[in-house]
Amino acid sequence: MRLPWAPAANEKDRREMLRRIGVDDAMELYKDIPREIVLEKPPGIGFGRQLSEWELRRIVDSMLRKNKVYTDPPPFLGGSVCFHTIPAVVDAIVSRSEFYTAYTPYQPEINQGLLQAFFEYQSLIADLLEMDVVNVSMYDWSTAAAEAILAAMRVTRRRKVVVAGNIHPERMDVVKTWLLGKNASIQIVDFCRETGRVDLEQLGNIVDNNTAAVYVEVPNFFGVIEDSVDAIAEAAHKRKALFIVGVEPLSLGIVRPPGSYGADIVVGDAQPLGLGLNYGGPYLGIFAMRWDRKLVRQMPGRLIGLTKTIDGKEYGFTMILQTREQHIRREKATSNITSNEALMAVAAAAYIVLLGGGGLRELARSIWLRSHYAAKRLAELEGVESPLFNGEFFKEFVARFPKPYHTIHKMLLEKGVLGGLPLADKPPLMDYYSALFCVTEAHSMKDIDKLVEAIGEAL
C-alpha cells in the first residue's frame, strides 16, 4: 500500500531499511507487545479502504452541503462569539507553512520569526488592555478565566472566589469544572434586573478576607458594560483579593481598558480579532497580568521575551520564565498547559496591526452604532423590550418578545435569517421570551432592517 505523504514506504527502501535494522519483517519490531492484545488486523475505520484526495473531497463535500451558512444577512447570534469579518491578509499569514507547521519554538535561534510574532501579539494585547504582561495564549476565554482564578488562589493562598452572576454561563461551568479538585468555594453575585449589571452592594458584602479573587466580565453575558469597575476594584483590593476582569477585546476600541481601573488579571478571547467562527474553535484565550513579581511568577502558559545574543550584538526573542511551566516544574507548575493556540496569536497580531489604534476605535464605534441601531429598531416593534436591560451595551444585547422566542427563531431560520440566541435554557436568564442578539461591523443597516422586518412578521 502506498502512503502518499510518507516517502519511505516504498518497498525497496523498506526492505533495505529492515535489513540494516537486522529484522526480516517489520512485525518483529513489535514482538515485545503481549501477543494476546496485538490486533490481527487493523480496525476497519474510515471508509473501508484508502481514499484518494478526490474521493475524500467528494465525500466531505456531500457532508458539508448539509451545513447551512448564513451570510446574507450574517448571523445575529450572540453568546460571546459573534460573526465578524476577517481580513484576507490574516489568513494569508497564518497559511504560511513555516508558521503553521512549526512546533513550539524550543530552539529559538531557528524560530525567530515565530517568536517575534508571538512577542508582538503579547505586546499589542498589552497595549490594548493596558496591562504589562500577556502570555502567548490560553485555550479560550473560559479556561483563561479558570486559570486566572487558580492563579489568584495560589497568589493569595485563599479558597473563596467571588464571581459575577452575569458572566457567560458556559464560562461559569468551566470555572466550576476546573476548580473541582481545589476545594474552592465559589460565590455568585446577583445582577440587577434593571440594568443587567452586577449588584455592587452584594458584591461588597461577599468579598472578605478569605476571598482570592473577584471575577467580572465587561461587557457581561448580556452585552452590558459594567460601569462600577472602579468600585469593584476597590472592594477587591480592600480585602487583598485580586480583581480579575474578562473582556471582549474589540470593545476596547472605545471602552476603558481594564488596566486603567485596577485589574490584576485580565482574560478574554481574541476570536473577534480575525479568527474564524469554526463552530466554536480554535479560539484564543487572552491572559494578562500586572507587572508584579508575585503575580507573574504564578502566570500560567508560555511567555516570550526580548533578549540579545550571547555576544551582545543582536536582539532576539526566546521563551522566558519557563521554570513556571510543567516541563520543568512538573506537579508544582503554574499550569499543565503546553500546546495552546499560538497560531491564532499570530493571526490576532496581524489583525491588530492591520487596524491600528485608529482602526480599532473606528471599528468599535461602528459596532456600537450598529448594535444600538438594531436595539432601537427592535424596540419599535409592538411589545418588544429592546434592550431588555438599560445598562449601556456593546455589540450584544438582550431583547424580550411578547411571545416565546424559539417560535420566532424558527420562522427567522425559514427566511434564511439566523436570529438571536434563545435564552430559554441559558442561565443566568432562563427566559423563554428573550434572546441575545449580536450585531457587528458585518451587518449593514439593510441587514438589520431585514432582521427587524422578519421578526415583525413573526410576531
Partner: protein, 519 residues
Amino acid sequence: MIPRARGSWRQARWNEPLVYELGSPNNSGFICPYSNEDAELERVLSTTPEEKLGRMLRDRAPEIPGLSEIEVTRHFMRLSQMSYGVDVGPVPLGSCTMKYNPKISEDIARDPRIRYLHPYQDPDTVQGLLEMLYLLERWLAELTGMDRCSLQTPAGAAGELAGALMIRKYFMDRGEDRDEMLIPDSAHGTNPASAAMAGFKVVRIPTSENGTVDMEALDAALSERTAGIMLTNPNTLGIFEDRILEIADKLHSIGALLYYDGANLNGIMGIVRPGDMGFDIIHLNIHKTFGAPHGGGGPGAGVVCARGELVDYLPRPLIAKKGNRYYWDYECEKCIGRIRMFYGNIVPLIKAFIYIAMLGGDGLREAAIQSVINTNYFIALIRGVDGYDLPYDPKRPRKHELVLSAKPLKQETGVTAEDVAKALLDRGLHAPTIYFPLIVDEALMIEFTESEPRRQIEEYAAALREIAREARHNPSAFKQLPKNTSVGRLDNVYANHPRSVTPTFRILRRRLQGEQLSL
C-alpha cells in the same frame, strides 16, 4: 562540469523591526465595512458612543501601531522565512510527533461551510459537520478500544486534566477518598501537573533498568489512597511497557484506574489498543498522531475517551446520533461538566477526520509500522557512533521514538546535548527534544514519524556523527553555535533576569522612559 552544490545552509535573515517601529496609530490598512452609513446611524440614533459611554469611555484610541496591508504582509512573510516547520525540514522532536500535515486538510479546513458556522447555530443547520464529528468519534473509540470520546478538550494536557478530574469525581461519587496518582519518572511534565491541578498528590514511580515501570516500586506505591496511574505506552523512551497487562491488573485489583497519555500512540496505532491494554480513560493528541499541524504551539486538539461506567464522567456534551439526525447530548448526571466552551477545537478535529478517512485502518497501521522502522533504522545508523549512548536496553526495539544520551560526548569534550542541538540547527536540521525525559542525562529524544524520507534520516545520523567528530577537534567552537540561523545563540540569563526580563514592548517602552522595572 557543473558543480554539484551550493554553499552551506543559511536561514533567511531580515533585519525586521517590531511592528511598533513600522507603524503609527494614525495608519491603518483596514476599511471599515459600510462606513458610509455611520453618519446616518448617528443621525438616527441621535447620539454617539462617546456620549453614552460616560465614565467607561476610553479617552483615546489605543496606542497601537497601524500598518497598511503591504506592510503587514511583508512583515509577517519575512518573519515566516525566519521560522522553521516540518514543511521545510525535519523536526524530529521526540514526544511531539511532528509528522507531515497533508495539504488537503488545510484546504478543506478553510471551507466556508466550516469556517462560518456559529457554535450556537441550530444543530439541524450543521448536520454535515456533526456527521464528520460523529464518525471521528466512532473511529477514535474503535482505534483505541474505548466506548465513547469527548471531543471537547483543546489539547492533550486538557485531556489529562479532564481525565484526572473524572477519576477524582468517580471516587468522590463512590465516597472513596483516594488522593494519590502514580506517575512514572519518565512521564511527560503535563501528567504530574494535570494530576496536581485535579487535586491529586503525585507519587513518582521510578523506571527500571530495562526502561519500563519498576514493578517493585509500583507494588510499594499501591495503597488504598491510590486513585490511579497515568501512563503512556510506548513510554517516553520509546519502549513498550511489556508488563502493561500486569500493571493494569494490579491497579484494577485495588479498585484504582488507569489513565493513558495518548501522545505516544503513533507507533502502535492499528496494532494494539489502549483499551485492550487495560486503560480506563485515555486522551489522544489530534495534532500529533492524526496529522493536524502544531501551529508553532497550537491549536491542537485533545480527545478524551473512556470505557464502561467512566463514560458517564466524560466532559459534556458528547456527539450523538438518533435516527439520521446528529446532535449534542448534554445529559450530565455524573459528568465533570465542561472543560472549555463549546465542543472542541473543530479545525484540528476535521483534519484528523481527513487523515483517518484517507488512510483507513490499514493505512494507519502502515504509518505506525513505518514510523517504527524509521526509529529503528536511525538507531541502526547511529549505533556505535562514539559520543552517544542508547540508555536502557539498547537491543530492545524502540517504537515511535528513541532517546539517546550525549553524556559520553559531554564527558569527553564538554559539548552538551544543548550544544549538539545548536550544531544541528546550524546545518538546517531542527534539533531533537533535549533534556527530556529527565531520567536520561544529556537526553536527545528523537522522533522521525512515518513522514521522514530515508535520505533525511541518513542525513540526520550523518550530522550527529560529524558533530561528535568535530566536538573532539574543537569543542569550544560549539559554544558559539549556531551561526547559520537568522540569529546567533541567545542569552537566556539576560532573557530571564528580573531586571532585564521583557515580556512586552510596553515594558521595554517603560524602561526606555527611565523606569526601573524588576520582576
